[in-house]
Symmetry: C2
Subunit: 152 residues, 2 copies
Amino acid sequence: MKDNSIIIPPQPRAELGQLLLYLADDVLDCVNDALEQCNISESKLNLLLILASTSTSSTPFKPSVIAKRLGIRRSSVTKQLIELEKHHFIIRTINEEDQRMVNVSITSEGCQLLNQAMPLYWQTCTDFSNNLTYEEALQLLVLLKKIKRVND
Amino acid sequence: MKDNSIIIPPQPRAELGQLLLYLADDVLDCVNDALEQCNISESKLNLLLILASTSTSSTPFKPSVIAKRLGIRRSSVTKQLIELEKHHFIIRTINEEDQRMVNVSITSEGCQLLNQAMPLYWQTCTDFSNNLTYEEALQLLVLLKKIKRVND
DNA sequence: GCCCTTAATTAGCCTAGCTAATTATTAGTA
DNA sequence: TACTAATAATTAGCTAGGCTAATTAAGGGC
């Protein structure tokens, strides 16, 4: 490395990506900090959110489906479920039709937690764009939605 | 929770924040996956990048300064430095003027690694905006820079 | 009834953070 | 000058949240 040109972004798209990367840590930290007062992490909240959306679909969630939704391994889901069950936020019951499977559902305590946590969650999400006008925020939303599509 | 209205974004700014949060995991994973072939993590690369920028400033970096720059604790930096030193990417020497302090500098092996890793890093960063036109990417860059300023 | 597949779990590992306690050195002061 | 404070880095030990590989249990096909 004769000069340090390799460490500066070679073009705007590269700079953009790096900025996204830096922002990534920040937003995760922000949300986790905000949720600390509810004693829940962003990753556990995400799992509960999936379960809470069950009211629309009729069938309860299986660990394997949750894993797919979260983009993590089944064993990681099991770990999280064990913790969440310890705190009575969810219950696991054996599926009667196929006893290899497990039905996971959110409890009323879990719903209570969501009622507590979600306002904080949304407020923190909202505050990220405090430096932007409403129009800018809308613009940004559109652009980020386009980016998101890459990873599907 | 009578309905599940609490789990859907109450307004566009909230949705925007949530999208940033989801994107956060994705971009971190992408970069780490890309860097895997160099056997380096995004977090260790970040540390090396700080050291590599030393050529501009005259004084070598101290662990405490690195910690501040990365926004993590000194003990966490020590851990990373131990690993990086094991692989000969950096060296630590005692500061002669004040022997409580340590000078951290990147080695030629460390520079070699950067030469290998940075093209992959920049390519991955660049690819995040593949779905965007050049003009959209520039727009997005401006907006994200505004957001970034919140956390300073 | 036996074998293969599938679902979940378990065991054990890794990374990268954290706090609290320790060590070594410097600086200030009675 | 010797003692005490403060400062820098490190160490020890913990946690969260991932991972793979191995295990257990149940179902399905022949």
